[in-house]
């Protein structure tokens, strides 16, 4: 999983190309290199989650031992956490907005709020996993256990990395280390954050809602 950290951070942040620093927008597509690569990276991520979701769907209902999804899912709780994650997309939009208006104070504020909401979501997931484990669904218990924990775990790791990225942007902004285009950095993290949210909506629908 650590390697995912590598991609994420690489693409969220930047390197300077061979082109002159003073004209960062002189690209053939009009998108900056960073933004283009973030889009491409997210495209690639789609297939990562596509593979994991397919694995889960293939094995749906094929577990032999241990509790099944309908027996352990706590749909109201997960609905709340899904809603909280969606709210964090809203606060992320506000952060991007503030960043575009060069409003440092509110950018930091909204980034922090987004990170807190994300952390709340992950906290809910940790709680959920702990409960499931005590209810008899371990990682190695059944096909359902393995594929469920792998899929949602990968998503949880993505959210966690997103939180770390948000926090680091806040730190760096506090210490005035961004001298480039702040708005773009915030926007890149935002793109990633929205992607992770959208993936969750898909997971929530396919994994939690459909079998019940």
């Amino acid at each position: 999983m650590a390697d995912i950290a590598v991609h994420d951070v690489d693409h969220a942040h930047t390197d300077h190309g061979g082109y002159d620093d003073h004209a960062p927008h002189a690209t053939s597509t009009g998108l900056t290199n960073n933004k283009l690569s973030m889009w491409l990276f997210l495209g690639s991520e789609c297939l990562l989650f596509g593979g994991l979701i397919s694995t889960y769907m293939l094995y749906r209902g094929r577990h032999q031992t241990g509790p099944g999804p309908d027996q352990i899912f706590d749909i109201p709780l997960t609905s709340v956490s899904s809603f909280i994650l969606l709210m964090s997309s809203l606060t992320m939009v506000l952060a991007v907005n503030s960043a575009k208006r060069k409003d440092d104070r509110n950018t930091s504020l909204w980034l922090t709020i987004t990170a807190l909401l994300g952390a709340l979501f992950v906290g809910g997931q940790v709680y959920e996993f702990t409960s499931f484990y005590h209810e008899g669904l371990g990682f190695t218990t059944s096909l359902f256990g393995s594929s469920f924990y792998t899929l949602t775990g990968f998503h949880g790791v993505h959210v966690t990395l997103g939180i770390i990225m948000l926090m680091v942007v806040v730190f760096i902004m506090q210490r005035d280390r961004i001298t480039g285009d702040k708005a773009e950095v915030v926007e890149l993290v935002g793109l990633y954050w929205h992607f992770v949210d959208v993936v969750w909506v898909i997971i929530f629908t396919l994994v939690y809602l459909i079998p019940s």
Binding site: A2, D3, A5, V6, H7, V9, D10, H11, A12, H13, T14, D15, H16, G17, G18, Y19, D20, D21, P24, T27, S28, L31, T32, N33, N34, L36, S37, L40, F41, G43, S44, E45, L47, L48, G50, G51, T55, L58, Y59, R62, H63, Q64, T65, F139, T140, T141, S142, L143, G145, S146, T150, V168, V169, I172, R177, I178, G180, D181, E184, V185
Partner: protein, 670 residues
């Protein structure tokens, strides 16, 4: 890589307080300085220059080519006699697994990456790739991943499940050594290298083309590399998922392929081949690109049907996603899937055929100059055609159920991969060597090299068609003196021919290695434009300067360089092409308008540090998770060190330090 434009050096004083002869920061900081050297071993270790990285990619890939070649020779030695005992069954299984893995992941792919790295920015008139440090990271990940993978030989045996690693044979129950763990994690590491490389090159091509260069004016090599990068971008995550599932199963007890828990082993096959079939095109398309550069150059006319070649390349890349199950015709998919994938597979023969037709028609009516590069390119047309038509025979699904997993398939894909991909890469070596090193590979040795390889390939893989059609399955450690029950089956002759052939190929490769050393030590400097070439990479010095172009060329046409050299003149005999300028004159004109401000990124420690962390994590997964924790700490440190590092080195990093009021900006983030 040095920064071209540095602030004027100021006296080495720092600080406003008293004491004029204070310790200068650079001296006090010692090893914490950022690397800035542009020569010496440090300049290679910490470089972010796409050309240096390209050369390192190439050198390491060649090394792994030799490793994979030795493995192949051992395999053929084992199969040179009935019931042979050169290798034990276990060793043989490791050998063919690692031969395939090494050749695919550690030779052909990175060798293509080497050419792409070196020539793609040059061909589109860029000063570097979009993300130079990520480029460096990609190389180091590939190197460390490859070394990690091969370290399994010394640590209890390499992977023994075949490169396709079908479950459940790959589970710990059936393969208890750590070999497969090394394989999984090693491929995971090199996979990251491919993925970030893909991001980088796509952005480079889409965003950083020289002024005036439209997409349809890009050289075909660039085009094919672009298609390949898109394939990588979408294929790598799929194999990543498959590898994660497998390693979770082997290392953490997950149940993904545990049949007793109700799992379906075909899941692995689907995931593997959804990656694996695009992988075939990932392997072959760069070589198609190379010969699409070489053929026009030595036929002295543009590529016939440029648009058709480009679109057929893109079509191959696209349709390549819809044919993965043709590797699984015998897996029991059901008739509907088999029929659909069978027809889809036939479809892909059409764009491939288009390419062959266009290459042939490029030769037609040309003025053919048979250099070694040209011979290799023509060799690709011939051998790939043979591999292609035998491919059509297995697109026919019922026929494939007779042929799959026999030597007929081995023959087919070796004609495609050795005859198509590897010969194309060799064409690239001979064509671009003078550009990369300023010296030409010996043509005399080159011809020997080519003919030995050409005959060797046919001698090795031609007979395998017959063996396969006679029913010899693949991956057999021995073929017996007599098969049970009949006693007549004669596999001796063609197996022995194939073994002899493999050593002929080996000899050819040896001559190539000799050629490299001869060229390095003895060869004179090459002329600026030895082949009368056609594309942008030749409008600069050989080897190119660090910043590639003194002035970024403005592009007006496909084959820009050719059109700067030649113009159509009216003569008594009608219009004729006449050389109006020499390459030197073209270059001189460019240099006389050199850009005043050129910024290049500085070298960095972080790529190599970051990539070193991954094998540590991987060893930890296999032996002790504490090691992984340490690796992760190094990883985090490197990632953030990376992010907080300015693209251009601080003045104080230079010796003597520049200091003063630097105007240099930090990277966009931190």
């Amino acid at each position: 890589m040095a920064i071209i434009e540095r602030p004027a050096a100021v006296p080495a004083t720092v600080g406003s307080v008293a004491a004029p002869e204070v310790v200068t920061p650079t001296q006090a900081l010692g090893v914490f300085r950022r690397p800035v050297s542009s020569s010496g071993w440090k300049s290679w270790l910490f470089t972010v220059d796409h050309k240096k990285l390209g050369i390192m990619y190439g050198a390491v890939a060649l090394f792994f080519f030799l490793v994979g070649g030795v493995e192949a020779l051992l395999i053929r030695l084992q199969l040179a006699a009935p019931d042979n005992t050169v290798l034990s069954a276990d060793q043989y299984n490791q050998m063919f697994t690692m031969h395939a893995t090494t050749m695919v992941f550690l030779f052909v792919m990175p060798m293509a990456a080497a050419f792409a790295n070196y020539f793609l920015p040059l061909q589109i008139g860029a000063r570097d790739v979009a993300f130079p440090r990520i480029n460096a990271l990609g190389f180091w990940l590939f190197l460390f991943g490859g070394l990690f993978l091969n370290s399994s030989w010394l640590l209890g045996g390499a992977a023994d499940g075949g490169w396709f690693m079908y479950s459940p044979n790959s589970s710990a129950l059936f393969s208890p050594s750590h070999g497969i763990d090394f394989w999984v994690l090693g491929l995971q590491i090199t996979g990251i290298a491919s993925l970030i490389g893909a991001l980088n090159l796509i952005v480079t091509v889409l965003n950083m083309r020289a002024p005036g260069m439209k997409l349809m004016q890009m050289p075909v090599f660039t085009w094919m590399v672009l298609v390949v990068q898109f394939l990588l971008l979408f294929a790598m995550p799929v194999i990543t998922v498959a590898l994660f599932l497998l390693s979770f199963q082997r290392n953490f007890g997950a149940t993904f392929f545990d049949v007793n828990q109700g799992a379906d082993p075909l899941l692995w096959q689907h995931l593997f081949w959804i990656f694996g079939h695009p992988e075939v095109y990932i392997i072959i398309l760069p070589s198609f690109g190379i010969i699409s550069e070489v053929l026009p150059t030595f036929a002295r006319k543009p590529l016939f049907g440029y648009k058709f070649v480009v679109f057929s390349g893109a079509a191959i890349g696209f349709v390549g996603w819809g044919v993965w199950a043709h590797h699984m015709f015998a897996s029991g998919l059901g008739p509907v899937s088999v029929a659909v994938f069978s027809v889809a597979t036939m479809l892909i023969a059409i764009p491939t055929g288009v390419k062959i037709v266009n290459w042939t028609l490029t030769l037609w009516g040309g003025k053919l100059w048979f250099t070694t590069a040209m011979l290799y390119a023509i060799g690709v047309i011939v051998l790939f055609t043979i591999g292609g038509v035998s491919g059509v025979t297995h697109a026919v699904a019922p026929s494939d159920t007779q042929q799959t997993d026999t030597y007929h398939i081995v023959a087919h894909f070796h004609y495609v991969i050795v005859g198509g991909a590897v010969m194309g890469l060799f064409s690239g070596f001979y064509y671009w060597w003078p550009k990369m090193f300023g010296k030409m590979l010996s043509e005399r040795l080159g011809k020997w090299n080519f003919w030995l390889m050409f005959f060797g390939v046919n001698l090795t893989f031609g007979p395998m068609h017959i063996l396969g059609l006679q029913g010899q399955p693949r991956r057999m450690v021995v073929w017996p003196e007599k098969l049970t029950g009949d006693g007549f089956f004669d596999m001796h002759f063609w197996n022995q021919v194939a073994s002899v052939g493999s050593f002929v190929i080996g000899l050819g490769v040896l001559i190539f290695v000799i050629n490299i050393f001869w060229t390095w030590k003895k060869a004179p400097l090459a002329p600026l434009d030895p082949w009368d070439a056609r594309t942008l990479e030749w409008i600069t010095a050989s080897p190119p300067k660090e910043h590639n172009f003194d002035r970024i060329p403005t592009v007006h046409a496909l084959d820009e360089f050719f059109h700067r050299k030649y113009e159509e003149m009216d003569t008594e005999d009608g219009p004729r092409l006449v050389k109006v300028k020499s390459a030197e004159e073209v270059l001189a004109e460019e240099e006389s308008h050199a850009d005043a401000h050129i910024h290049l990124p500085s070298p960095s420690y972080w790529p190599i540090v970051l990539s070193a962390a991954l094998p540590i994590i991987a060893y930890g997964v296999i032996y002790n998770l504490m090691l992984s924790v340490i690796g992760t700490a190094i990883l985090l440190l490197a990632v953030f060190g990376w992010c907080l590092e300015p693209s251009v080195a601080d003045d104080s990093d230079y010796d003597p330090p520049a200091g003063g009021d630097s105007t240099k900006e930090l990277a966009t983030l931190g």
